[in-house]
Amino acid sequence: MSGLLVQIDDILRRRGPLLLHPTRSALLRLILCVVAFGTFYGAIMGGFGGIQGERLWQIFNSALKVPLLLLGTSLIAWPSFFVLNTLVGLRRDFARATTALMAAQAGLAVVLASLAPLTVVWYASSADYAAALRFNGLMFAIASFAGQGLLRGHYRLLIQRNSKHRWMLGTWLVIYIFVGIQMAWILRPFVGDPGAPIEFFRRESWGNAYVVVARLIYDAVRR
């Protein structure tokens, strides 16, 4: 347990040891951090409709979805990151780059989990579904900002070594955000409207987040 706390501390304070000796087990531990803390926040998130009877399924679904969102997006973006790093000559640093990315994700999950008690208090105070969605959005936004800062911190060593890493970091962020938005859209519902049936996906309202937003903007402009 204390080992886990030390690891979390290292991640949050951007300490060096992670990058100097990137091992497969260190990477695995980071991924487990994402899963553990993401699952915890997801379970809390899904508890909006209560914890009676059928609503337990929503808690279970949301607990699965948060790590799926984070790790699934990373997995999809990873092959192109690998090939691009190789082409610009950063192959030797690739294990460290991956570890840095995972450390930032683990940090994001830890921050998210630390905001879970606030979410519980919000749920206890208000029964408004739309407000709950916005509050969770805010929690994710805060965690993402923290994750961004962590990413820059962990990547600083790499950028000092070779300035091309800065380009690669920018490319990773563009790809990750592009895929992540669509992933978050199709994994809905995360919070779960208490009035709607419990489903893993809202299949009938799948589709493309970008097309939906473009259509919204187009309609708003035309009016």
Binding site: L87, V88, G89, I175, V179, Y210
Partner: protein, 280 residues
């Protein structure tokens, strides 16, 4: 198979196109093995592209999925076959010293880079194809992905052409056991081949250029520029029209399955019509 993947890896890392490796005025790559790897990676991308047809609302459209899987490698290989004679002849006319085999190796290596980037973007395309219902979005996304990988393949082609012409002019190494690289006379001779221990701070000591890096201190030859521009134009035009001839790749959900659509119009006219449709 593993050996050929290793060869692809060497090309991507830039080891196959180091100046020292290009002295013989050709790139040491196994043509047959590399063509097989290109074929397989392109097929992999075709599978990812076909997810749009495979996860249609009305039920999986397996024929279109299969068609996409087969058409992407065909597109690349047919374009190579169609353009190779003219590319070689034009290259010889401009006065380049590359012989037939060297031109083929160069083209195949560039194609390998192109297809490697394409395949690595496959998961992203597959993910969006599964989850989107919008056919124009799918088309636009695939065009963008092909453009990005094409751009990187061309960058590799340009840098390798340039290095081939530079390597030709370098003095031959004094002996087979020489350790110094002539293009970096100021760099200290490394006593060991192991990478330097990772320093927690400070810049990385300058290593070999990557596959896409421009060589320092060498301007592009005029004839290298001419060859590259003409190749880019020929390959680009033929490739685009070949893609049009082989359509449909994704499969408009509103139309029935056909292996090939009727011959009408061409790629450039279709682009022009789309642009007109957007603005008029």
């Amino acid at each position: 198979m593993r050996r050929w993947l290793n060869d692809l890896d060497r090309i991507l890392r830039g080891e196959a196109t180091r100046l020292a490796a290009l002295r013989e005025e050709s790139i040491e790559v196994p043509l047959g093995g590399l063509l097989l790897v290109i074929f397989l990676l392109a097929m992999l991308y075709g599978v990812c592209m076909g997810f749009f047809a495979g996860f249609r609302v009305g039920g999986p459209f397996c024929m279109q999925w299969f068609a996409s899987t087969v058409k992407v490698p065909s597109l690349f290989l047919l374009t190579l076959v169609v353009t190779f004679p003219s590319l070689y002849v034009f290259n010889a006319l401009v006065g380049s010293r590359l012989n037939l085999l060297a031109v083929l190796q160069l083209l195949v290596a560039s194609l390998a880079v192109n297809v490697a980037v394409l395949a690595s973007l496959g998961p992203i395309v597959a993910f969006f194809s599964v989850s989107t219902l919008s056919y124009p979005f799918a088309v636009l996304m695939n065009v963008t992905v092909f453009a990005i990988s094409g751009f990187l393949g061309l960058a590799f082609l340009l840098q390798t052409l340039h290095r081939l012409s530079v390597a030709r002019r370098l003095p031959p190494p004094p002996s087979p056991t020489a350790a110094a690289e002539p293009e970096k006379p100021t760099e200290a001779i490394a006593p060991q081949q192991e990478p330097e221990p990772w320093a927690p701070s400070g810049k990385e000591p300058s290593g070999e250029p990557s596959a896409l890096d421009a060589l320092e201190g060498h301007m592009l030859d005029r004839h290298v520029k001419t060859v590259f521009l003409s190749w880019m134009v020929i390959f680009g035009l033929v490739g685009a029209q070949m893609a049009w001839v082989l359509r449909p790749f994704i499969g408009n959900p509103g139309e029935p399955f056909q292996w090939f659509r009727a011959r009408q119009s061409n790629f450039f006219e279709a682009v022009w019509q789309s642009l007109r449709g957007l603005f008029w």
